[in-house]
């Protein structure tokens, strides 16, 4: 079982991933610091600070060791692995059916999107055809999840920049989205509702009405969030021109998702390498341009792209709700799923970027090897290059704007 080759981001863009250029030269910085300390007149020391794993704004259990000169970060090193749960290895020792709930726990803010990718990968391995209605339900759930995840990220970013109120406002709407998913799946955060060959439950007419109401509510609230953050002068001062990731650097580090599009790179897996039925929907891919505020690739634009993408996710969900066909929601499957020998690489657009699964089947009911490519993992790396020379406050702004979920960094 093979799959059609999917072009990679650099291939599509025609760029070669460059060597990563240092943003600030360490020797230059040292010289500048020495000049500032007037030679020997004043002895200064660099302070090594452990930011995390117990820190309010490392979004989980990320540990970043930063070297600071006063408030200026001269070097930093993210340390990951505090939340490692062997999701990939477990997948090699469990039957395909039983592995799916573990996938939810990778990116726990976008569990549906994780399931979506994993199911597509297994279905491609086993050659399962998913019923039409199930495909639409998957898209609806995935986009509702994307809306919930994006508005949550926007609110949390407010928290990172010191505004507590937007967080609770976005939480209120997100809760409605989670309630919707709860009605379908029976769980608030970890659903296991997208199953191999279909979905677990059908959508009722009431659910569809409620879903429309939720999408309307979010659409109505988005300008309200913007008055608190995007249009706010202090927020703009905090985020514009901060943590600028140039397009070449972003592609070089494998940054994907809103962070990549905020750097001005026009790439969305849903549009450029469609999976499921995403090629049937009309939607725009918001790309950062310099007409808003700040420069392309800064923290402000990552937030801005998230806001724009929320609008697009609402659009896709509405189209899917409109076109939802009647019919079966689950393909007939054998009791034990034994895909033939083969390998598959499937990529889906997670709210945080490109989530990919590489699976190798050896003809048994378990995968021989599973490898996940997490968007947060790739996005976190770029921090080391961008944060040098920034202030501690900027570091927090940068970390928040990348919107990492540690559960998926460590898997």
């Amino acid at each position: 079982m093979s799959h059609e080759p999917v072009p990679s981001v650099p291939q599509v863009l025609g760029v070669v991933a460059p060597a990563v250029p240092p943003v600030v030269d360490a020797a230059d910085l040292a010289r500048a610091l020495e000049e500032r300390s007037m030679g020997q007149a004043l002895r200064t020391e660099e302070l090594v600070v452990n930011m995390g794993p117990q820190h309010p704004s490392t979004h989980g259990v990320l540990r970043v060791v930063i070297k600071t000169d006063g408030e200026v970060v001269t070097a930093l090193q993210p340390h990951i692995g505090n939340l490692h749960r062997c999701v990939e290895k477990i997948g090699e020792s469990l039957p395909y059916y039983q592995w799916l709930p573990y996938v939810d726990r990778m990116d726990y803010l976008a569990a549906i999107n994780n399931e979506h990718g994993a199911c597509i990968a297994i279905e491609r391995l086993a050659g399962i055809v998913v019923p039409e209605r199930a495909e639409y339900i998957r898209v609806i759930l995935a986009e509702v999840q994307r809306v919930a995840s994006h508005i949550f990220a926007m609110g949390v970013y407010g928290l990172d920049t010191g505004a507590i109120t937007p967080f609770l406002h976005t939480f209120r709407e997100r809760e409605r989205g989670l309630d919707l998913l709860d009605h379908i799946a029976g769980g608030r955060l970890l659903y296991h509702v997208i199953r191999i060959g279909g979905v677990k439950r059908d959508l009722s007419p009431e659910w569809i009405d409620e879903c429309h109401a939720f999408l309307d509510a979010v659409e109505q609230r988005l300008p309200e969030y913007n008055t608190l953050l995007l249009d706010n002068h202090i927020f703009q001062e905090r985020t514009c021109n901060i943590g600028v990731i140039p397009p070449a650097l972003a592609v070089g580090w494998g940054v994907t998702g809103p962070a990549l599009r905020a750097s001005g790179v026009d790439w969305d897996t849903r549009r450029d390498a469609p999976y499921g039925i995403y090629d049937r929907f009309q939607f725009d891919v918001p790309i950062a341009h310099s007409g808003v505020a700040g420069v392309v690739g800064d923290c402000f634009h990552r937030h801005w792209v998230r806001f724009k993408e929320t609008e697009q996710a609402i659009r896709i969900a509405r189209q899917a709700l409109r076109d939802l066909p009647p019919g079966e929601i689950q393909a007939k499957l054998p009791k034990t799923l034994k895909p033939p020998k083969g390998e598959v690489y499937v990529r889906v657009e997670n709210p945080r970027g490109e989530l990919a699964y590489w699976m190798v089947a050896d003809g048994t009911d378990k995968a021989w090897r599973i490898r996940c490519r997490g968007p947060s993992f790739s996005n976190i790396g770029v921090m080391t290059d961008v944060a040098r020379g920034a202030l501690i406050a900027d570091l927090v702004a940068l970390m928040g704007s990348l919107d990492i979920v540690l559960g998926e960094v460590d898997r």
Binding site: P56, E71, D160, T165, R238, G400
Partner: protein, 356 residues
């Protein structure tokens, strides 16, 4: 205070029999504990107010279980904090760590000695009252430096560095913008400044000169920064520095920092009202110097300061936090020149019109 006690002694045969020194000492101690109790109570209620208002802003309810509408929540919180273990880090400078919260507390509460809380309701009617208040609140910084240094924690040190830079810088625009009123009033005595604002609303200093009008906004902004209130809450920036200078503090010592912060809010709100918004004068020409009037004057002042406290709370829960260098920029390149300009305008006004 002395004249008040003298009046009591003259009027009472019982007090007249007691040595005067004893009456003075007892009277001052009673006044001090009265102010302390009152301010602590207000600080506690401001905490409750902040939590309820922030609840409203954030589409939730806030504490409403302890006492009517949750009014006694601060007592429950206080009991909880006192019941907690008073952790002193093993690497801390023990003595300095222990006394630091009290110095912060003293800095704020000592200022209330010269603050008139109503007509004649002032513990010490100092001729240099404004100067005293602005000077004594600076003591707070010393306590914060001690707390940050003695904690021997990196986050505390970073928070302390921010605090010292910020509070010391903002004291300049704070003092200079307060002086616009003092220059026009020709007095540093807070009671006298209030008495000049008797009558209609336009007699309030904020409306009497362009210098004081601008001065009010400068003063209020600088007060927010001096109080470490959002958007200038960098010294304890939660998302950046965990909790800043009081990262290592727990239990009762933490509660004292907390109390001092909220007492500071009350202090600067009262000061804003006293300097710019007519103090205890309600804005209509009535005299509030008799017995009931005094109580009323206190209520008027209190209501006005509650308004400014609400504005502070409102600002805190709406705005993101400034960055450390922008805060300094705002101080030295915006507030300071403007406050100096306001001061010069006020001085010119006195020169040209002879004041008043």
């Amino acid at each position: 205070m002395k004249s008040f006690l003298d009046g009591l002694i003259e009027g009472s045969a019982l007090l007249g029999a007691v040595p005067r020194g004893l009456v003075y000492t007892t009277g001052i101690l009673l006044a001090c504990s009265g102010v302390l109790l009152l301010v602590s109570l207000f600080a506690g209620e401001i905490v409750w107010m902040e939590r309820r208002i922030s609840g409203r802003i954030q589409a939730r309810i806030g504490p409403n279980r302890v006492g009517p509408q949750g009014l006694l929540q601060f007592l429950a919180d206080g009991v909880k904090l006192m019941a907690k273990e008073d952790v002193i880090p093993s690497s801390a400078d023990r003595l300095v760590f222990l006394i630091a919260p009290y110095i912060v507390f003293t800095g704020v509460f000592a200022a209330f000695a010269a603050i008139p809380l109503g007509a004649g309701l002032v513990p010490a009617n100092l001729t240099f009252g404004l100067f005293y208040v602005l000077a004594i609140t600076s003591v707070e910084v010393v306590g914060v430096i001690m707390a940050g240094w003695a904690s021997n924690s990196k986050w505390s040190i970073l928070g302390t560095m921010r605090e010292v830079a910020q509070v010391i810088s903002y004291e300049m625009p704070l003092a200079i913008s307060a002086l616009t009123v003092a220059v026009l009033a020709g007095s540093l005595n807070l009671t006298e400044i209030v008495d000049q604002q008797q009558g209609w609303v336009w007699q309030w200093w904020v409306f009497r000169s362009p210098a004081t009008f601008v001065g009010f906004f400068l003063f209020f902004t600088a007060a927010l920064a001096a109080l470490k209130r959002a958007p200038f809450d960098l010294p304890e920036a939660e998302s950046e520095l965990v909790a800043g200078f009081h990262t290592e503090y727990t239990g009762f010592r933490f509660a004292i920092f907390f109390l001092a912060e909220y007492a500071g809010m009350f202090l600067f709100s009262v000061l804003t009202v006293v300097l710019f918004f007519g103090g205890w004068h309600p804005g209509v020409p009535v005299s509030l110097t008799t017995g009931v009037g005094r109580a009323l004057s206190f209520l008027v002042l209190f209501a006005k300061s509650v308004f400014f406290i609400s504005v502070m709370i409102w600002i805190r829960w709406s705005l993101p936090r400034y960055r450390v260098d922008k805060v300094m920029y705002l101080c030295y390149k915006v507030l300071l020149p403007w406050s100096v300009a306001a001061m010069v305008v006020a001085a010119l006004q006195v020169l040209l019109t002879g004041g008043r």
